[in-house]
């Protein structure tokens, strides 16, 4: 366990090295980034192997940092953090593999990329609210540059929108934390802040600020609009990270900070959050159904899936919250996979993402590996048994049912919608013209299409196999992660919140 802080330090060091190496050789920067990501992931797996599940956070480092302000450098982990750092390592590695074709300002790209990853690791490992906040903001700034420099469609608009939404959200969080700090007179350590005491009215106000601030980044309807535009504008690996890991930061913040600190606030806002989550699931699903841009379909599907996470948190019982954490992991893997197929495998070769154009191409023949990957990822995204989405969404729905059957029924409609928009996109993009190869050529569709495409490269294959393996493994053995997550929810801090709904 005590290795875990090294994920942060290694990644930061790797960022500096990649920046330095990039000035001389792009290949060196690439390999350094891959080595760094792998090292970080290796550390998380090693820590996971030695992890003894139990309630409460296990402290890794705890030293005074800014005593004048009551801030400690306190890193700690429990099963939930561990789940998410393993996800981060996996997503970071896959992201580097799918960034192999970045040739412009390569060193800077990987430096910013690793800086973002370091911030994400830091958030998941922080046990001091302000330290968590500092890492959270550290993860925001690189996103702007990653998207604005290396992105595509309306990248400057998408980048600015995404960063301003994130930053406005984090401003709310900061306001809420400072208010709690002033009211309790305690330092910023999560346990100290949770001790309060706050009046119910204060809790309602603080919870609203902190939860809403984090939930903006988790894609809470109606504050989700940054997500599709940001995802579409971002370069492939950045979309993978945004959807796969960064949105989880928001959900994690809600779970780690907002819920345990202000239980009375949750009790007050619970129905509002649940209905907003359900609205997000349905609304994003319906919008995804009519998109013509392939990447927008995936972007909205992310919002829809994150709605499940928020619903699980709102349901506030052990089953649903456990499911929500599992869904965070599962969606992180699946969204990464979907963005990888759309952004890297398809768009970088066909240079179009319009389903109308893709329909004219027999992509399942031209890019069979991409087609197979997308079909599998699509099945996982729909929540079919055997893939990780299934146990996660099932747990959430069962848990939500315990709290309020209406929520579960409404959200279940979202599952059907997910199947509809995924199948539609799959059909149009890959099997649009399922006829012979020559049809596409003679019909003179978007562009001459006879396999001029560069074959799928080894980094793409490796990345896709990694992510596919992860979703299959968890689909078959969800208990691997649940064994970490469930005991963590037994900690006193979480028990104060999760009293509702458990049988």
């Amino acid at each position: 366990m005590n290795l875990l802080p090294w994920t942060i330090y290694l990644t930061l060091g790797g960022a500096l090295l990649a920046l330095a190496a990039g000035a001389r050789s792009a290949a060196a920067a690439r390999w350094l980034a891959l080595a760094t990501a792998l090292a970080g992931w290796g550390v998380t797996l090693l820590a996971a192997a030695r992890f003894a599940p139990g309630p409460g956070l296990q402290t890794l480092v705890d030293v005074a940092w800014i005593p004048e302000l009551g801030v400690r450098y306190h890193l700690a982990a429990d099963g939930i953090s561990l789940t998410l750092v393993v996800l981060t390592g996996l997503a970071a590695t896959a992201g580097v593999l799918f960034s192999w074709n970045i040739t412009e300002r390569t060193g800077e790209y990987f430096a910013l990329y690793l800086l973002l990853i370091a911030g994400v690791y830091g958030v998941f490992l922080s046990a001091d609210a302000l330290l968590l906040f500092a890492f959270y903001e550290l993860a925001i700034a690189p996103k702007y540059f990653l998207i604005a420099i290396w992105g595509s469609t309306r990248r400057e608009y998408g980048a600015m929108k995404l960063v301003l939404y994130s930053f406005a959200g984090s401003a709310l969080v900061l306001a809420g934390l400072l208010w709690a700090h002033a009211a309790s007179g305690a330092g910023f350590d999560l346990a100290d802040l949770a001790a309060g005491p706050y009046t119910v009215g204060e809790q309602v106000g603080m919870f609203a600020l902190v939860f809403l601030g984090f939930a903006v980044l988790a894609g809470l309807f109606p504050f989700h609009t940054w997500a599709p535009t940001g995802h579409v504008a971002a370069p492939t690996a950045a979309s993978m990270l945004l959807a796969g890991v960064v949105m989880k930061l928001g959900a994690y913040g809600c779970l780690r900070v907002a819920l345990p600190l202000f239980p009375a606030g949750l009790a007050f806002w619970q129905p509002v959050i649940a209905w907003l989550a359900v609205a997000g699931i349905i609304y994003a699903g319906v919008i995804a159904l009519v998109q013509d841009d392939f990447k927008f379909v995936i972007g909205y599907s992310s919002v829809s899936h994150m709605g499940f996470v928020l619903l699980g948190l709102a349901a506030a019982n052990a089953g649903a919250v456990g499911g929500a954490v599992l869904q965070m992991f599962s969606h992180g893997v699946i969204a990464g996979l979907l963005f990888a197929v759309v952004g890297r495998m398809v768009y970088d070769r066909t240079h179009t993402r319009r389903l109308r154009d893709l329909r004219a191409l027999p992509l399942h023949r031209l890019l069979p590996f991409a087609a197979v990957t997308f079909v599998l990822a699509g099945l996982a995204s729909m929540g079919l048994p055997g893939f990780s989405g299934f146990p996660a969404e099932l747990l959430i729905l069962v848990g939500a049912w315990r709290t309020s059957p209406v929520w579960a029924l409404a959200a279940a409609a979202g599952v059907v919608l997910a199947a509809a928009f995924t199948l539609r996109a799959m059909q149009l993009a890959f099997f649009g013209r399922a006829g012979r190869l020559t049809d596409a050529v003679t019909s003179g569709a978007a562009r001459p299409a006879v396999a001029p495409y560069q074959p799928i490269t080894w980094p793409e294959r490796a990345g896709a196999l990694l992510l596919l393996g992860a979703t299959l493994l968890l689909g078959l053995r969800p208990d691997l992660l649940l064994n970490w997550i469930t005991p963590s929810l037994q900690s006193p801090l979480f028990q104060a919140v999760l009293k509702g709904g458990a049988p």
């Binding site: 500092a134 550290l138 002033a182």
Partner: protein
């Protein structure tokens, strides 16, 4: 006053070193350098001036905290020591970026006046009496007016200097009038008595007039709305190092003096001081006006001016809460804000020297033209925007936390802190627009070869950026002093 002169000489040793340095600069140039080429003169006097500043830093450290001296004219406490050091370091930085900025016709006199300004600013840090405060303020202000108008090749410089001088002269008149009223009310020129009058919750009409006069003058000095009108023109027109000094050291000293005067009377009966509401109005107006008007600026220096006004609002929060939270947050914020502004002006000066204008678009492709400048600019701007772990974040954070602890989220300070937090998202937008040009956009076609940065300027910029990172990672290095 018995035996006072020895102590006074010791207490004023840093200022004496600065003045001696200024005279040495002029003397050396007059005696030996007149026939040398301009470049050699510039280098020689800069070295002499830097030596003087370093000597002043050493002397300030050696003097340390000896408390009240010269019959209460000066108070050398932690605040004075920290602000003195801050002012001197920032002056050193301004000297450092001078060779990077467009060359001036009279470099020697420029450096000498800069040292005089530093002496005035360092004195402001320690002033504890109406008279010494006024003298220090005027020494600093007069030097800054001159520094503003030093660029004889651009009419904007002269215009800015005139505007600054006229506004400043008016403010000085207000201040003197306010001080004379305070003296009339108390019969004393000590800060403690004056502060008690200002802080009295239900003061008579004369005290209210004195308070307003003093606030007008200080509002001008720190460019708080609605007394900010000079700032955009001065920031735009002044030579870059002058603007850097005005934006950094002058601000730091101004806030310290202001906070010292207002809190000199303590908190009568534990109640909120009488001036709190008026200062809160100034802070709120500055926050709103600065942030919103900055959105509309296309000239980077004017943008920095409006962002300075916005920061003035946040810093006034630090002034409002200094009586309870101590001067630590205020000094930390003002000093790190000064470092970031200084650096930003240094970068703009270097771009201007390479033939660029002051518009945002003139920064386009800076990452190719000079990776060093682009990286430093990123640190400065992100620190101004308050992104952790850079120092700017902790400054804001410490001040806002103090404000919320001061009177809760519904009080004037706490409420303003919440508003200020909300406005940081607005501020990020205009800061990112700068970085978008510098880091994202490609260089303009045709224009834009590499920008050469002279070594002293490069060192100053890297040191400023390094300090921002260091103080961001370890804010206790400064906060722990108080």
């Amino acid at each position: 006053m018995n035996g006072g002169y020895a102590i006074l000489a010791r207490a004023l040793a840093p200022e004496a070193a600065l003045v001696a340095g200024a005279l040495a600069v002029l003397g050396v140039d007059l005696a030996w350098l007149k026939r040398h080429p301009a470049d050699a003169r510039r280098r020689a006097v800069a070295a002499v001036a830097a030596l003087a500043v370093v000597a002043a830093i050493g002397l300030a450290l050696a003097v340390g905290r000896i408390g009240s001296v010269a019959g209460g004219a000066l108070r050398l406490d932690t605040l004075a020591l920290a602000v003195r050091l801050g002012v001197l370091v920032l002056t050193l930085g301004a000297l450092g970026i001078t060779p990077g900025a467009p060359a001036l016709r009279h470099p020697v006199e420029y450096v000498a006046v800069m040292l005089f300004a530093a002496a005035g600013l360092a004195l402001m840090a320690a002033a504890d009496q109406l008279l010494s405060a006024f003298l220090a303020l005027e020494l600093a202000s007069l030097s800054l007016y001159v520094l503003t108008g030093f660029d004889k090749t651009r009419p904007e410089s002269a215009e800015a200097a005139l505007k600054y001088f006229l506004f400043g002269g008016m403010a000085a008149a207000f201040l003197l009038f306010g001080f004379s009223l305070l003296y009339g009310l108390t019969g004393s020129i000590g800060f403690a008595e004056a502060g008690a009058v200002l802080a009295a919750p239900h003061a008579g009409p004369l005290a209210a007039v004195a308070l307003v006069m003093v606030l007008v003058a200080f509002g001008f000095k720190i460019a708080a709305a609605p007394f900010h009108l000079w700032a955009p023109d001065v920031y735009q027109g002044a030579p870059a190092p002058s603007a850097a000094l005005i934006a950094s050291a002058s601000k730091l000293a101004g806030y310290a003096l202001f906070a010292r005067l207002l809190w000199a009377g303590g908190r009568p009966g534990g109640a909120s001081p009488g001036w709190l509401t008026v200062v809160a109005v100034l802070a709120g107006a500055s926050l709103l006006l600065g942030n919103l008007v900055a959105l509309a600026q296309s000239d980077v220096r004017r943008l920095l001016a409006y962002s300075a006004i916005a920061h003035a609002g946040a810093l006034l929060l630090g002034v409002m809460t200094a009586g309870r939270a101590g001067f630590g947050p205020l000094v930390y914020y003002a000093a790190t804000y000064g470092l970031a502004s200084l650096g930003a002006f240094g970068v703009l000066g270097a771009v201007a020297r390479a033939g660029g204008g002051g518009r945002r678009e003139d920064l386009a492709g800076l990452h190719r033209r000079s990776p060093l400048l682009a990286a430093c600019l990123a640190v400065f701007v992100l620190s101004l925007a308050g992104i952790p772990p850079l120092a700017g974040f902790w400054g804001k954070f410490a001040v806002f936390a103090a404000a919320l602890q001061f009177d809760g989220p519904t009080g004037p300070a706490g409420g303003l802190a919440l508003a200020a937090i909300a406005l940081t998202a607005v501020a990020l937008y205009y800061y990112l627009l700068i970085l978008k040009q510098a880091l994202v956009a490609g260089p303009p076609s045709g224009g834009g070869g590499r920008i050469a940065v002279p070594a002293p300027a490069a060192v100053a910029l890297v040191a400023a950026a390094g300090l921002l990172v260091l103080l961001g990672l370890f804010p206790s290095l400064v906060l722990g002093w108080f």
